[in-house]
């Protein structure tokens, strides 16, 4: 049974490229362009992992997280300090962290590790 990954990013090209990469690795992919859409998609799809950009306009990460019951990988384009990372990793369903622009191998292994 294919695992389903929800990719949340406000940049359409990043969403699309993530979809291409993940599909080529045999995953089913659902896309969302904002926090609000992410919550919507989680209601209508059975999702195994969320790939969440933490810097998006609109709904903030700290408001999105409590509504996500599955594993989450954070993606950020700014280098975070270890305190900021610690803050994020405090919630139990956080499974990883990727900083943009991430390497494909690193990306796939983070996804697989989170789903294991």
């Amino acid at each position: 049974m294919k695992k389903t990954i929800l990719v949340v990013d406000d940049e359409p090209d990043i969403r699309e490229m993530n979809r291409l990469v993940l599909e080529s690795e045999g995953f089913r992919v659902v896309l969302a362009g904002s926090g609000e859409e992410c919550i919507e998609k989680l209601k209508t799809n059975k999702v195994d992992l969320v790939l969440l950009d933490i810097m998006m306009p609109g709904m903030q990460t700290k408001d999105i997280l409590p509504k996500v019951k599955v594993k989450v990988i954070f993606v950020s384009s700014v280098q975070m300090t270890s305190e900021e990372k610690e803050e994020l990793f405090r919630s139990p369903n956080v499974a990883g962290y990727l900083s943009k622009p991430y390497d494909k191998k690193e990306f796939i292994s983070a996804v697989k590790a989170a789903l294991r």
Binding site: I14, E16, M17, V21, K100, P101, K105
Partner: protein, 465 residues
């Protein structure tokens, strides 16, 4: 503000000047009406001479003119002072030569008689000298009020007049008129009072001007301080905007790299053509280079704004050096460079592993790309409470003039050592090492090689840069 203060000084000077004027007028009336009591206040004392009275009126007027700021004051006050000087000088000549020119009968002729053997109605020697001194004091206080000579001359001369007349006044008060000047004619009581007031007026004018000048200087300083403060605030604003702008730009620049990197990597894995793989390899390498540039730019911004934070934990520098050597071996080989290391046994250090790795990679990459060396040696050893890591090459070396600016941002070393680049790498290295409480430096000899070293303290004091 200054105008108001000038008016206060003017009024004070006029109050002082009014005393000799009143006494002078009384004296003139006394001589004309032959009521000498008005000129001496006491029948036992000698009265003020008519010429003395006239001179006092002229000097007081000149002093008042000196205290106000009118354009014609030099000419009018000057001629008044000249008249007084002439009268006093002629009187001195009379006393010196023992002749009577008749200067004391020139203006008011009703001068005759004596008091206890002392002729009255003639200007005393001390009085004449005091008039010359007073005239000089007033003359200097009129011209160029900002020069030091127009401060100390009036103060010295008026001070002298003040002391002499005050002494004579004391003599009258204690019934023993002291210091009558060694001539037969002593200074009158009224004359002494008038001189005290007149010289006090001159001193008051000088002191008042000084106070005003100080106040103005302080006000100017305050205004300059306000301007500086405002400029400083603006600079800080600009700095803030610059930092914000650079971090925003770096973020925006990095976003498009995400799909590019993933896409190129996907194609690289998929393609069977060696030519395509080579092409995509070049594209990917340049993409990573662009990414490093953006990271450096962000780091420089952070270092500049003193916001570079490091997260320290106990680490083995030995392991870090070996890991970096392993990582860079391939790149060195591609450039036909032998990369080796000599690492001593080192104690564990509190440091930010990612950041120190970044420094080491930067230094080794510089040597690989820019030095023109065939071998690079990385050493790490403990010495005098710190651990010193050095990256040495046997390349072309750095010219003397570049050495002092190596670690400043946007400075690219001129030939023969390397050349191109944004000039950010070493600046970032410096920022990171200093955030660890350490230092970084370089030594170089042309055509012999360069050594870049950084030292980290063994007992680091907590703190961030």
């Amino acid at each position: 503000m200054a105008d108001k203060q000038e008016k206060i000084v003017f009024v004070l000077v006029c109050v002082f000047a009014a005393v000799p004027v009143v006494l002078g007028c009384l004296t003139l009336i006394a001589w004309v009406m032959e009521r000498l009591f008005l000129a001496s206040f006491n029948p036992a004392y000698i009265p003020m001479a008519p010429n003395t009275a006239l001179s006092f009126i002229l000097l007081s007027a000149a002093l008042c003119i000196a205290a106000c700021s009118v354009s014609w004051k030099n000419r009018v006050a000057g001629s008044m002072l000249a008249a007084v000087l002439v009268v006093a000088a002629v009187r001195l000549f009379e006393l010196w030569a023992g002749v009577e020119v008749g200067i004391d009968r020139l203006f008011i002729s009703a001068v005759n008689g004596s008091l206890g053997g002392i002729p009255i109605g003639q200007m005393a020697f001390v009085t004449a000298v005091s008039f010359i001194f007073s005239a000089v004091a007033i003359a200097f206080s009129i011209k160029e009020p900002n020069k030091s000579i127009s401060i100390w001359v009036p103060v010295a001369f008026a001070g002298f007049v003040f002391s002499v007349s005050a002494m004579i006044l004391l003599g009258y008060l204690y019934g023993r008129p002291l210091g009558y000047g060694g001539t037969a004619i002593p200074m009158a009581l009224t004359t002494a009072i008038a001189f005290v007031a007149l010289s006090a007026g001159v001193l008051c004018l000088i002191a008042g001007r000084q106070v005003i000048e100080r106040r103005e200087a302080i006000e100017k300083l305050r205004a300059a301080e306000d301007v500086l403060r405002e400029e400083n605030r603006q600079l800080k604003d600009i700095e803030k905007t610059k930092t914000l702008f650079l971090s925003m730009v770096s973020h925006e620049l990095r976003t498009p790299l995400v799909p590019m990197r993933l896409g190129i990597q996907m194609l690289l894995e998929r393609t069977r053509s060696a030519r395509d793989r080579e092409t995509l390899g070049v594209v990917l390498r340049n993409l990573l280079r662009l990414n490093k540039l953006i990271n450096d730019l962000l780091d420089v911004t952070r270092i500049d704004a003193k916001r570079l934070t490091i997260t320290v934990s106990e680490q083995s520098l030995e392991n870090i050096v070996r890991e970096v050597i392993a990582l860079e071996k391939q790149s060195a080989l591609e450039n036909k460079i032998r990369l080796s290391c000599q690492v001593a046994r080192l104690p564990l250090l509190k440091l930010d592993k990612d950041r120190i790795t970044q420094v080491l990679i930067n230094l080794i990459n510089n040597a690989i790309k820019h030095s023109g060396t065939r071998e690079i040696l990385v050493t790490a050893k403990e010495s005098a409470g710190e651990v010193v890591v050095s990256v040495s090459d046997k390349g072309r070396g750095i010219v003397e003039g570049d050495m002092s600016r190596l670690f400043t941002p946007f400075f690219s070393i001129t030939k023969p050592y390397g050349g191109k680049g944004a000039g950010l790498g070493l600046c970032v290295c410096k920022g990171i090492v200093e955030a660890h409480g350490g230092r970084i430096w370089a030594e170089s000899k042309l055509n012999e090689g360069t050594v870049f070293s950084f030292a980290l303290p063994l007992n680091r004091k907590e703190g961030v840069a």
